[in-house]
């Protein structure tokens, strides 16, 4: 057990930090063109998809190097790259399950953000219970015909391609009739509507499919094998890069400490109030534990171990902690934490942010409520931890009871 960074890692961090200091854009990126240019710059510097094998456009970078880049990006307040979910989900899916042709066609353009991707999984009636999805993909000759609706799709309004889960066999048990398809988002019959969130911003979309035709060659893996494919890639999303999430919380709390030197509570700076100090000490300690736990995950990855169901512990940890962090910030700042327009600069997270834009205390507060819902709610994560990490027996559930009754005849069980 040795928690020092190696000399090599320290040198790498210095190089990343220096590059970012020189290259991070000074102005906010507004247009998609500007964002793509910045993304390309990051890619050329070797910071995008860097963990991938060189043959797929990566750098064979170690998990630690990826983590360092993630952390330093946050520290430098660098705009994030594009295609985040694409890199996290689509590429592993293609690498593990795609055809050689699919890999060649899609991976590089995704990495360079020449093509933008979205993930078409959730539906209005298939959230936590993703396997109950109803969006249909019916084979018609050499094409699939897609009909249905998807929701909570990040960035669908900008996407060129989407990774779709759709039902290809309506007679099979629900997990066994799903396939995974690559869909051209410019196809006729696709309608994208932006969903406004409680933050006032519109990151998510609804996507409607009406007789959308997708060539059969865009099937990923076997027909009706989509559920297994999605399961393996979902755990990547859940594992996430917790160290950069830590870095983001740290950035906010560090700013909070500055603000507490200025903000007056009961006639003295908030930082001198024993109750405020206690809260700050508590939350800082909790964040440090997230850092330690992240280093532990990272060191397992460095040893070549894959993120398994334990990644649910990480997801549960950072998403629930983020809620506590954001609640605490509002506790300390009182009404100032809820103010967007007109907030004095010395009290702001980022001055001059408007309602619905990232950068206000309010925006961070509201988004923390989504973290325990998307990518598997906290309740789902606790089920996974209980059943797959602790080995507790599965819960008795209506769909399992039905499936068992049906399965008894066939001699198999439900998921």
């Amino acid at each position: 057990m040795d928690l020092s960074y190696t000399a090599e890692d320290q040198a790498f961090r210095q190089r990343v930090r220096a590059w970012l200091a020189e290259n991070v854009p000074r102005q906010k990126l507004i247009t998609m063109e500007e964002k793509k240019a910045w993304h390309r710059k990051l890619y050329d510097a070797g910071f995008i998809g860097m963990g991938l094998p060189r043959e797929y456009g990566g750098r064979d970078a170690r998990p630690m190097e990826q983590a360092i880049v993630g952390e330093e990006m946050v520290r430098a307040k660098a705009p994030p790259p594009l295609n985040g979910l694409g890199i996290a989900i689509v590429i592993p899916t293609l690498i593990h399950h795609g055809t050689e042709q699919q890999k060649r066609r899609f991976i590089h353009k995704l990495l360079t953000a020449e093509e933008l991707w979205c993930q078409l999984y959730s539906e209005p009636n298939a959230g936590s219970d993703l396997a109950s999805l109803q969006c249909r993909a019916d084979l018609d000759g050499d094409e699939f015909v897609i009909n249905g609706q998807k929701i909570w799709t990040s960035g669908a309004h900008n996407a060129d391609w989407g990774l779709l889960l759709a039902r290809t066999d309506r007679t099979a048990p629900k997990h066994d009739g799903i396939s995974c398809l690559l869909v051209d988002m410019h196809s006729p019959g696709i309608e994208v509507r932006t969903l406004k969130q409680i933050s006032g911003s519109g990151e998510f979309c609804e996507v409607f499919f009406t007789t959308v035709r997708v060539p059969r060659e865009n099937l990923v893996g076997d027909l009706n094998a989509g559920w297994r494919i999605a399961q393996t890639t979902l755990s990547y999303e859940r594992g996430g890069n917790t160290l950069s999430r830590y870095a983001r919380m740290l950035q906010q709390v560090t700013r909070l400490l500055e603000v507490c030197q200025v903000l007056q509570r009961d006639g003295r700076p908030a930082i001198e109030d024993p109750l405020v100090r206690q809260k700050l000490g508590q939350i800082y300690a909790e964040m440090e534990v997230l850092r330690y736990a992240s280093l532990r995950i990272l060191s397992r990855l460095e040893r070549g171990l894959r993120p398994g169901p334990e990644s649910s512990l990480a997801k549960l940890h950072y998403s629930e902690l983020d809620k506590r962090v954001q609640e605490l910030i509002l506790d300390v700042l009182g009404p100032y934490g809820q103010q967007v327009g007109g907030l004095p600069d010395e009290l702001a997270l980022v001055p001059g942010v408007d309602y619905g834009e990232e950068g206000s205390w309010m925006y961070a507060f509201l988004w923390s409520r989504a973290g325990t819902i998307y990518a598997g709610s906290s309740e789902i994560q606790k089920n996974i931890i209980g059943e797959r990490v602790l080995g507790l027996p599965k819960e008795v559930r209506a769909d399992r009871v039905v499936a068992q009754t049906a399965g008894a005849a066939r001699g198999d069980g439900a998921d």
Partner: protein, 383 residues
């Protein structure tokens, strides 16, 4: 000993609920979110004219008590009603009544009671504090009247009410002595009003800057330098009133969650069948019922001038602060993604409860106050 509402109180609740559900649908609430004044004057006037005001009948009120105000405010929290009822009736009206200044009461309350006049109370300044110590806005004699200089923040509907009662300090120091109350009409020269854009778009607030604002001597409310007791009582009533509003928001969020858990299916069953959801909802109910007990006990204690009225007010606000946060937060969790959308109404309650949480004393402030009252022996049955 009777903790149940009287028939009159049940009728009042029904009256307000019916009025608001008919006259103030969520489409109106959402329209007001984008409105710079934040409320509809005509709707406000009709609401006031329902006849539920706490002022004496001589001033056009109904002489109702804090219990009735809590009933009204709980209903408003369920909408959530966008407008300066709380600012006018509870904050400013409460301060006027507590001031004992009959001349000023007679000057303003009749117009308030027929809905022609809206008011607010300006208290907070640069920081966060609910005692007299940090009031710095200065009040100085100036020929025939007074001159005001300083800043006020988070003035409820400060951008759209007619008259603002300003808590100011005559002289130096940090003590309660010197605290004065002055009525300043909107539009007085030297008064700059900047709207603050708050998370809860249904609750407008403003920053008010006073630079050499002159008002005539008759605008002083109560004795110069002696207004603190009135302000303190108004803030205490406001804490209970805000708690009632938060209670309404929390109960509505709970009801929406229970309804949703009964119709939403995942994994082949209603999500309300899962213990994770069922137990969460049970805990939310307990929080809401305890909040109800705390709010109405405190309202009764204020009306009855019970020895533990201050204690009960602080118990109520600290209890409902926690309940509001937890119930509305868990309501989003129970709903999942849909609860995170702008179109679904849940966030209106979540934000209203959060808006009121730090105002009129946050949780820590009121817990400290609870202990002070206990150590001073001002508990139930002590008088």
């Amino acid at each position: 000993m009777d903790f149940e509402f009287t028939e009159d109180q049940v009728m009042l609740r029904g009256l307000v609920r019916e009025f608001l559900s008919e006259q103030c649908p969520v489409s109106h609430v959402r329209a007001m979110m984008d409105d710079s004044r934040g409320y509809d004057r005509d709707l406000y006037r009709r609401l006031i004219q329902l006849g539920m005001l706490p002022f004496p009948e001589a001033y056009g009120g109904a002489g109702l008590g804090m219990i009735e105000q809590a009933i009204v405010l709980e209903e408003m929290g369920r909408i959530p009603y966008p407008g300066p009822y709380f600012a006018t009736v509870i904050l400013a009206g409460g301060a006027l009544m507590a001031s004992g200044d009959r001349r000023t009461q007679a000057r303003y309350l009749p117009d308030v009671s027929n809905g022609d006049l809206t008011m607010s109370l300006a208290f907070l300044e640069g920081g966060i504090a609910w005692g007299p110590e940090t009031i710095r806005l200065s009040l100085r004699r100036d020929r025939d009247g007074y001159r005001l200089d300083g800043i006020k923040r988070f003035v409820p509907f400060g951008q759209s009410v007619d008259v603002i009662l300003v808590v100011a300090r005559a002289g130096e120091g940090r003590s309660a002595e010197g605290i004065s109350l002055v009525a300043v009409p909107a539009g007085t020269p030297g008064l700059a009003i900047e709207p603050e854009l708050m998370m809860d778009l249904t609750s407008k607030t403003a920053t008010l800057r006073f630079e050499g604002v002159s008002v005539p001597a008759e605008n002083l409310v109560g004795p110069e330098g002696g207004a603190w007791p009135a302000v303190e009582l108004a803030l205490r009533q406001a804490a209970v009133g805000a708690s009632a509003e938060m209670l309404g928001a929390a109960r509505k969020a709970l009801e929406m969650s229970v309804d949703y858990a009964k119709v939403r299916k995942q994994f082949g069953q209603y999500i309300g069948q899962f213990q994770a959801i069922k137990h969460k909802l049970a805990e939310m109910l307990e929080l809401v019922e305890n909040a109800h007990a705390a709010v109405y006990y405190a309202a009764w204690a204020l009306d009855a001038r019970a020895p533990d009225a201050a204690l009960a007010a602080s118990v109520a606000k600290s209890t409902v602060n926690v309940a509001g946060r937890r119930v509305c937060g868990e309501a989003i969790q129970v709903h999942g993604g849909i609860g995170f959308t702008w179109e679904y109404d849940l966030h209106l309650y979540f934000k209203r409860a959060k808006h009121l949480e730090p105002l009129y004393g946050d949780t820590e402030y009121h817990r400290e106050r609870v202990l002070q009252e206990v150590l001073a022996g001002r508990v139930a049955g002590s008088a």
